[in-house]
């Protein structure tokens, strides 16, 4: 099981994508990864940031 606490070091994402999540105010450890080997992609972060209405 993933260690609790500081998820930042454990989530797989390219550094600029982690920065994007931070700028958008998103906790990247809550984003569902769709990239290779469970990597969080830029698109995953953007999807998590998009207002729910967009998906309607």
């Amino acid at each position: 099981a993933p260690a609790s606490g500081d998820g930042r070091a454990r989530v797989l994402a390219k550094p600029p994508v982690r920065k994007l999540a931070k700028d958008l105010g998103i906790d990247i450890s809550t984003v569902t990864p769709t990239g290779p080997n469970g990597t969080v992609t830029r698109e995953d972060v953007q999807a998590a940031a998009a207002p729910v209405a967009d998906t309607a």
Binding site: D6, R8, A9, P15, P16, R18, K19, K22, D23
Partner: protein, 461 residues
Amino acid sequence: MASEASEVDVIVLGGGSGGYAAAFRAAELGLSVTLVEKDKVGGTCLHYGCIPTKALLHAAEVADVARDGERFGVTSTVTGIDMAKVNEYKNGVVGRLHKGLQGLVKANKVNLVEGAGRLVGPNTVEVDGTRYTGRHIVLATGSHARSLPGLDIDGSKVLTSYEALELDRVPASVVVLGGGVIGVEFASVWRSFGAEVTIVEALPRLLPGEDEASSKIVDRAFRKRGMAIKTGSRFAGVEHTDDGVSVSLENGETVEAEMLLVAIGRGPVTEGLGFSETGVGLDNGFVATDERLRTSIPGVYAVGDLVAGLQLAHRGFAHGIFVAEDIAGLDPVPVEDAGIPRITYCDPEVASVGLTAAAAQERLGTDKVTTFDYNLAGNGRSQILATQGSVKVVQEVDGPVLGVHMVGGRIGELIAEAQLIYNWEALPAEVAQLVHPHPTQSEALGEAHLALAGKPLHVHG
């Protein structure tokens, strides 16, 4: 009565790094912009700061290289420094860049008003009797050299950087008051040009804003270059003598020299410009702003050296761009000082980004911070360049890189990479997975990250 100009979206007061960046970006975003400048666009950085000092530092490097050619097998000699030609070169660089910048003012369709402006209302700037109103105002009047009470700048024996840049000769000897960035850069230039140099700094070390390890290396290198360094020494007074000055220190010592450079810091240009009269809140002389660079008056922003913090041209650029984008409603991410790269262009160069080891330890606790210091003796390219120094990386234990601190010839350019690592909060292992080109100085940065990731390659015990 004053005449009135039609209202624009943005008035920028001051055409230095912060001001022109705000003006250009605002214009790019379709806003109408008036830029008020009383001297020359480009401000301190282009005309009296970054560019002319770095030209002098390059001439200094050329002198050192040519003097030291034998060591590399090149039979070369230096017979003198021709300050007239040095200045011609320096002014040539400034002139070309100034011309380019003037072209950009036109290309961006920024309305340049030449003259001294004054804030006369929350939306209004007055220049030579004409009133300009803007939906937004950006204050960008920059900074000027500070002095001490009783320490009068006469421009010939007691100088600030402003006068020092115009010297038509190399002083035989000079006392540099202040071991901060500007002080050590001038000290480095003059030493390379052959002067006897004494640096006086009240704090216990040179470059007190840098990581202690960096200060130590510079101190050692400067002494090796033959400079006298008096840290922890407070200035008491200066007297003019027949051939120069006699500088006395609080500890009773005196130092004689041809000139005294006063480089004890720069203060904001906020007085007599109507700022406080109009209600712009000041703090210690600087314009008080929030993290979005908003002053106490709605619609009025401040950028650059006016805002307390790092006094750097590229911080001004970043501020200017931020404010323009904020005005245009793009909701940009605020600019944080810690993420702004810092370079001191003395020999050896010093560069850093992020937190010092001490600051990181203070913030996170000693046991949460680890550092690795890679000595440039292990770096092939540095051996080739015959330079010494180190690359120190500060890391949160099991976490991202918190700071990078480097000293060495030509090391300044490397901080651009470190800046990405710091701002993108990369883990050492993520940097270590990638490969640095061989043989470069950048490999030292790579080696430090390899070591922190537990996989050192060229690390000597």
